[in-house]
């Protein structure tokens, strides 16, 4: 019989390795009934792997799992669900074409005799109380495709509830939620807790952990790094456990204050009809933050400057010399580089090695009569590995096997070898752990110090405020305003980003002696 004082889920000495990586090494944790346990750690610390072990996606190489005082083996997702453990993936797995009720009961539809006759009325009726329990005011007939991401998350939780789950695992549930949706999720988690359901909560965001967790287990490099109770949770203690050292200064700023020599001038650029043309300048040796809501057109602007996207009109000039638009090669030749937003889709060839990825944009220089100069490729890769502190066993390791932070360093390293003039970084620290984040900030600072104009697109306000010399804010495809270091504040950035106010001087008229 189950004992109320024993942990509901107890794992001891879990090990799991993948080719070339020891993902989990002797990891132990226990989860009590009705407890919210946060799992925190840097990228690549093994959080997701551990959760997939519980969810039946991976089978551990060693270790024992006790559930409800019984030793269990979880070979597949089906078994995990029968036990009452449900894993909600970071990328939601919903059938967009079905309605809410259809998704909640997907694969378990009650049938009337033969499998083809689906009893719609039954599932619509059954979905009702589950949704009500979550406080969702949606009709079970609503198509999932029309829901917001936060609402979809709730549908996933409803599905987990309908499976009579006792443990719900949420892998970074708030990564794409708005603040209001996040607050709603906290309430739901509190309700689940009251009903005796345990939650394993993975997050990158330390603030969230403080709000939601009863206890925190910290993983580092695939091992247990420590544990904190609710009272002990604070920013410093968490970061210390995660990184294993104190972060001396998170946002680094050593580059000179006044940058006046204009490098990039963008004039009257627009890429879709009926769009207000965009003009601004970037100076050598400054970091310009670009803020705005998702969909404000920041990525499109970066892609247009870089030549990936066709411009309808406008000009760009480097050092006063015009650069032909719509050709990546022209931008690259002029020293304008883009580190794209989608690291895995646009930044890296995941199947190729670290050294192949680092050398890809520079092959035109690393060649003899069009033959790849292997020694120079190796030297370049070795140099980048040193300079960026890329943690990889060898340079021939597949990039896809590195952690997010190290992958991002590889993407940065692709352009570093070519002495950039203008570096556009699109969400450079998204999905990157704390340790790598501060390394990337230090790198940006060093770039600016060596005279590169850095344009940093970011949705992380803390980062924008911490790193920028100047901030451009976009709203619905136009520049809503510009803020300098003196007038910079979170409230002002948000005002401009939401279209609540417009700053009149959108282009940097006070800069640049020529042009």
């Amino acid at each position: 019989m189950s004992h109320p004082n024993h942990p509901l889920l107890d794992a001891q000495g879990i090990c799991k390795s993948f080719p070339g990586v020891q993902a989990l090494q002797n990891v132990s944790l226990s989860l009590n009934r009705g407890e919210v346990l946060a799992i925190v750690g840097e990228n690549g610390a093994g959080k997701s792997t551990l959760m997939k072990v519980f969810g039946g996606v991976y089978t551990p190489d060693a270790g024992r799992i006790t559930f409800d005082d019984h030793r269990v083996v979880i070979p597949n997702v089906d078994r995990a669900q029968k036990l009452g453990i449900v894993l909600i993936h970071q990328e939601l797995n919903l059938a967009e074409n079905l309605d809410i009720a259809g998704n909640i009961f997907l694969g378990r539809e009650p049938t009337w005799g033969g499998p083809l006759r689906l009893v719609r009325r039954q599932i619509l009726k059954d979905a009702e109380p589950i949704l009500r329990r979550l406080g969702v005011s949606l009709s079970p007939r609503q198509r999932v495709a029309n829901l917001s991401i936060g609402q979809k998350q709730l549908v996933e939780i409803a599905r987990a509830l309908s499976l009579k789950s006792r443990v719900i695992i949420m892998d970074e549930p708030t990564s794409s939620l708005t603040q209001r949706e996040t607050d709603r999720l906290y309430e739901v988690i509190r309700d689940l807790k009251r009903d005796g359901i345990s939650v394993l909560y993975i997050s990158h965001r330390l603030k969230e952990v403080q709000v939601v967790a009863d206890r925190v287990v910290v993983l580092r490099d695939g091992r247990n790094a420590g544990e904190l109770t609710a009272a002990e949770i604070n920013h410093d203690s968490l970061v210390r456990l995660m990184v294993g050292r104190e972060l001396k200064q998170f946002f680094q700023r050593t580059h000179p204050e006044k940058a006046t020599r204009c490098v990039l001038e963008v004039k009257g650029l627009h890429w879709k009809p009926n769009q207000a043309p965009i003009s601004f300048k970037l100076n050598a040796g400054e970091i310009v933050g670009m803020a705005g809501l998702i969909g404000a057109g920041r990525t499109e602007l970066a892609e247009t400057i870089f030549g990936i996207r066709k411009a309808l009109a406008g000009q760009i000039a480097i050092d006063g010399k015009p650069v032909r638009l719509g050709r990546v090669r022209r931008a690259v030749a002029a020293g304008v580089y883009l580190v794209p937003e989608d690291r895995r889709g646009q930044g890296l060839v995941l199947e190729a090695s670290v050294s192949d990825n680092l050398s890809l944009p520079s092959l035109d220089r690393l060649q003899h009569w069009r033959f790849v100069a292997l020694r120079r490729v190796r030297n370049l890769a070795e140099e980048m590995k040193q300079r960026l502190n890329i943690r990889t066993p060898t340079l021939s390791q597949r990039v896809g096997l590195l952690s997010g932070g190290n992958q991002q360093k590889v993407v940065l390293g692709k352009w570093l070898g070519r002495s950039p003039r203008v570096l556009i970084l699109d969400e450079p620290t998204r999905g990157v752990d704390v340790g790598a984040k501060s390394e990337i900030y230090a790198l940006m600072d060093r770039f600016a110090g060596s005279g590169v104009a850095v344009l940093m697109i970011s949705s992380d306000l803390e980062e924008i405020l911490g790193m920028s010399d100047r901030v451009l804010v976009m709203h619905e495809g136009r520049l809503a305003g510009e803020l300098d270091l003196a007038s910079l504040s979170e409230a002002l950035v948000m005002r401009l980003a939401t279209g609540a106010g417009t700053n009149k001087s959108a282009d940097c008229t006070e800069t640049g002696p020529n042009l």
Binding site: D342, L360, P361, R370
Partner: protein
């Protein structure tokens, strides 16, 4: 690496069975024929393989072969303007390349799916072939008065058995041991030359790196400043160009054009050879050695079934089954990772687990 050793072992097994099955298979004549077919089919397998590595596909290859055959014969047969063979060949290869250019531009610039573009090409070029020949077999015999040396010429280029005397010393040596003299068809020599070129291109040049990068992640290549469209178009041009070369060799062998037959199903064989040799239709995977082994297996299999007196019509069944088996084994190898199960038991395992 393991995959290619396995493939090579498979090739050796087939070859051994072939030699054991029938004395006729051991003859120099059979070997000459096999080598000629490996050479010819190998040329299109390399072309298709390069394209598949960039993530493209060309279903029009067989029809382009038919079209090239018909075009070569038509040019040579013209009475008002007597084409010399070399200019005619040059024109055919250029037109083949142009067809590839059209395919490539439609895929990259107009953004039609490669499968659809080349499927349409498959119909169009077959249709053009029939139109050009009046849907009749067109022979060259008795039509080549303007090139009196045509027969000797094609023989020298196509079925020259001692490869312009290069083989004389080898055969002299073999003769000392009482071994039949060997013969090397020119198609094989041409193929080996192409293999070498393609290997250097793919594995040592900057372009090869671009091809693989495009096949694996076209977007990442584009964001790295690689002119992806240009290289994709190049791959289509090379593929259709290889089809034109095949067509010319075919004319030299057959001395005629058969509009409905020439190159029929060849696109499927070319894809099969490349895939059997380790290319992934998803792109980014495969190498030249693999394609060579794949092609050779593809040519040996029908010969084997011939020697084992399996009826002709079984050829496709044999090829299809071999390809399927190869794909299953490949997947098993891939998913095996660290589990130390033998391949066979793994396949067995996955078949059993299907029933669960």
């Amino acid at each position: 690496m393991k995959k290619y050793l396995g493939l090579f072992a498979f090739l050796l097994v087939i070859y051994a069975v072939l030699l054991a099955a029938d004395p006729a298979a051991r003859s120099a004549y059979n070997h000459f024929n096999l080598a000629r077919r490996v050479g010819m089919e190998g040329i299109v397998c390399i072309g298709a393989g390069l394209l598949i590595i960039t993530g493209g596909i060309d279903l029009s290859l067989g029809s382009v072969v038919g079209f090239s055959v018909a075009l070569t014969v038509t040019l040579l047969r013209r009475e008002d303007f007597a084409w010399q063979p070399f200019p005619a060949m040059l024109v055919v290869i250029l037109i083949g390349g142009f067809i590839g250019l059209v395919n490539g531009v439609l895929v990259t610039k107009v953004r039609v799916q490669a499968f659809v573009v080349t499927l349409c090409g498959m119909f169009i070029y077959r249709g053009l072939t029939k139109w050009m020949t009046g849907d009749q077999v067109q022979g060259l015999s008795g039509q080549m008065q303007h090139v009196p040396s045509w027969d000797a010429w094609t023989r020298a280029l196509y079925s020259n058995r001692d490869a312009w005397g290069l083989l004389k010393p080898v055969n002299y040596l073999l003769g000392q041991f009482g071994v039949e003299p060997i013969a090397v068809p020119v198609s094989l020599i041409l193929f080996l030359f192409l293999v070498l070129t393609a290997a250097v291109f793919l594995h040592f040049s900057v372009y090869g790196r671009y091809f693989y990068a495009i096949g694996n992640n076209e977007n990442a290549a584009r964001y790295s400043g690689v002119s992806t469209d240009l290289y994709k178009i190049l791959a289509y041009v090379l593929c259709s160009g290889s089809a034109a070369v095949y067509g010319i060799l075919h004319v030299m062998q057959a001395q005629s054009a058969t509009p409905t037959q020439d190159g029929a199903n060849l696109e499927l064989k070319a894809i099969a050879g490349a895939v059997l040799g380790g290319c992934s239709v998803r792109g980014g995977e495969g190498n030249v050695i693999g394609i060579v082994i794949g092609t050779t297996i593809l040519v040996l299999l029908p010969n084997l079934s011939l020697m084992l007196e399996i009826p002709d019509f079984m050829e496709f069944i044999v090829i299809g089954s071999a390809l399927l088996l190869g794909a299953i084994l490949d997947e098993a190898l891939r998913s095996r990772e660290r589990v130390s199960l033998s391949l066979v038991s793994r396949v067995f395992h996955s078949i059993l687990s299907l029933g669960k």
